[in-house]
Amino acid sequence: MKRVVLTFAFLLTTAAFAPAQVAVIANKSVPVDTVRKSKLLDFYTGDIRLWGNDEAVVVVDLKPRSDIKKRFYRYLGKRSSRMKSIWLKKMLSGEGDPPEALKTEEDVLHKVGNTQGAIGFLSASKVDSQQVKVLLIIPASAAQ
């Protein structure tokens, strides 16, 4: 119910404001309903690889140089190129692979919805709460 209300309000605000809000989504199997910024960054840098229930964290990235992507990383305090460096270093030191980067937001929605422990981001307007659960809405203003 809460989720429905959130999504509803979310859709309303999306319609009301021009710059798209960014929604952080996760597979419904993840044991959390919300996520803090620092935790989110830890997921994306690969510093945290497991959820609380020892399920592997599957990070999903967006490939194109889009406004949503830029805003998401800016919210994390890292530019996307810097995230690439972090992943490059992880890879060179053998600590892990970079997240899979998908070409479209629909692909992201689909991938997160169908992968256990997956987490990703996309425009709030494109969220389908039937497939995924929303962990965080990044307000348009906070992303600036």
Partner: protein
């Protein structure tokens, strides 16, 4: 407020204040400008220069990374590969550090509005290319891990190479923009420096010129009037008192000039006054000299009259003195004549009784005649004595200046004063042993007569005159003291002045004491008086023995 009216010190202060103000203005201006230049140089050193260095580091880092990647393809052995991957990891860190630094610098510069839009756009492009290259690198390493070495090499040389070239080009563009902006800032700084230098030079020149002008003005304000004053003072020193100094202004020199003018005026007036007074004095002197001549003439006449009067008195006295014996002689001659008549009568008588009687008578007549003769002789002697005294007094028959016994003079004077004196005044003589002294006896006698006459005049009825003489050292002293009425103290000081008049019943010898004083002075002696009213007067004459 006129500049001339300022005090010298204030003039100097004003002059130096102007100089200091101009210099201070120049300094403040140059300091301000230096601050601007400093800011412009700081712009270069703290904005473009660090960014340029960082960009250069990024360039070096990325090039090194790409070389390592190329080498990585041909890596053999796990250890070498591990070393290279570690090195590449460090390079990525380094590049990220530099990018962070650039971001920081960019934000700092943007805050100062010193970050151009062009550079921002170029940096975004660089950042995008860097991300793209990193994506490709990730893909490259993925392929390498998967063992797809040929595809990895193709990717690195193909698509990644192109992206890297693009990245390098963008980076070079960034360097160029940065250099251009830095060069512009440096050019601005240089321009500011040049303009400031020109202004400061001008101000320096102005300051120097102004200083010189002020010094000249000050010197003129001081030295020119001083020189004028000096010349004027020189003129005054040469005796030209008509000098006036024309110096306006109310400063010290102006005041000095006014004082100087007042001084010369005062000097001129004083000199004129002195000259007039000298002329007047000369006239007065001439008049005085004439008066003196007249006075001396009248004094001489007066003295002459005095002498004549004294002589007359003396003659009267002497006539009186002589008259007595002459009367005696005349009377005796008459008696003698009658005695002779008697004898003729005796001789004509006849008869013895008559003769006898005549004999007795003639004896009587002879006795009378004998007495008569004695009287006549005495009278004659008396006359002879008087004549002798007169002679002695006047010393008519002797040389004027000679050795004399003063006692003789005193005695002659006493004799000449005669019976009139002796009847009512007791003369007491107390003569000491005196040597004869060289003097004008006639004149000294005049003094004695004067003093004795004065003494007898001072004694109204009866009294004493005491004459005392003694020698003391080289001087002889003659005191003539009377018991007369005395002289009041207020008259003592003018006693020996010419024309003194004692007053009283007999007015005489008005010039006597003055004459006496003159005579004693002539003998290098001294005459003093001591008197008490009602008790008497003592005159003391002191004469040198010589």
């Amino acid at each position: 407020m006129n500049l001339r009216d300022l005090k010298l010190g204030n003039k100097q202060i004003l002059g130096f204040a102007v100089i200091v103000a101009v210099m201070a203005a120049a300094n403040i201006y140059s300091i301000k400008k230096m601050e601007t230049i400093k800011a412009e140089i700081d712009e270069v050193t703290s904005n473009w220069l660090p960014r340029a260095l960082v960009i250069s580091d990024i360039h070096a880092g990325t090039s090194a990374l790409r070389i390592r990647q190329l080498q990585h393809v041909f890596a053999t052995g796990d250890t070498a590969a591990l070393n290279r991957t570690r090195a590449m990891s460090e390079l990525v860190d380094l590049i990220n550090d530099k990018l962070d630094t650039y971001e920081r610098l960019k934000q700092a510069s943007a805050a100062q509005d010193l970050y151009s839009q062009q550079e921002g756009q170029l940096y975004t492009a660089v950042d995008e290319k860097w991300e793209e290259y990193q994506d490709l690198s990730l893909a490259f390493f993925q392929l390498m891990l998967e063992g797809e070495k040929s595809r990895a090499v193709a990717l690195l040389n193909g698509e990644a190479g192109l992206v890297f070239d693009e990245f390098t080009r963008k980076l070079n563009g960034l360097v160029n923009v940065n250099q251009k902006d830095a060069f512009d800032a440096a050019t601005r700084a240089e321009a500011t420096f040049n303009s400031t230098r020109a202004v400061v030079r001008t101000l320096l020149l102005v300051t120097i010129v102004l200083s010189i002008l002020i010094v000249i003005v000050l010197v003129r304000l001081v030295t020119v009037p001083v020189r004028t004053l000096q010349q004027a003072a020189g003129n005054v020193a040469e005796g030209n008192l008509a000098v006036q100094v024309e110096i306006a202004g109310k400063d010290e020199i102006g005041n000095l000039a006014q004082s100087f003018n007042s001084m010369t005026t005062a000097l001129r007036e004083a000199r004129d006054n002195t000259e007039q007074q000298a002329a007047r004095l000369k006239q007065q002197n001439k008049a005085l000299a004439r008066t003196m001549v007249e006075l001396r003439k009248s004094q001489e006449q007066l003295l002459m009259k005095e002498k004549m009067a004294a002589l007359g008195q003396l003659v009267a006295g002497v006539a009186h003195e002589i008259n007595n014996p002459v009367g005696t002689i005349t009377a005796s001659a008459d008696v003698a004549g009658r005695c002779v008549q008697k004898f003729e009568d005796f001789l004509s008588k006849k008869g013895s009784s008559a003769r006898r009687q005549a004999n007795d008578e003639s004896t009587k007549v002879l006795r009378i005649m004998r007495d008569n003769i004695r009287v006549i002789l005495a009278a004659g002697e008396r006359i002879a004595t008087i004549v002798k005294s007169l002679k002695s007094f006047a010393r008519l028959d002797e040389a004027e200046y000679q050795k004399t016994d003063v006692h003789d003079g005193i005695d002659s004077s006493l004799t000449l004063l005669g019976a009139e004196l002796l009847t009512r005044v007791d003369i007491e003589k107390d003569y000491g042993e005196l040597p004869e002294i060289f003097c004008y006896p006639g004149q000294l006698n005049q003094v004695f007569l004067n003093l004795l006459t004065n003494a007898s005049d001072a004694i109204e009825h009866e009294g004493d005159i005491k004459i005392r003489t003694f020698q003391e050292g080289d001087n002889i002293h003659i005191e003539i003291a009377d018991t007369g009425r005395g002289i009041p103290e207020e008259k003592l000081s003018s006693l020996f002045d010419f024309g003194f008049n004692q007053g009283g019943p007999r007015v005489k010898m008005s010039s006597g004491l003055s004459t006496s004083y003159t005579i004693i002075q002539k003998h290098d002696g001294d005459i003093a008086v001591h008197s008490e009213v009602g008790k008497g007067t003592t005159f003391t004459i002191v004469l040198p023995v010589k």
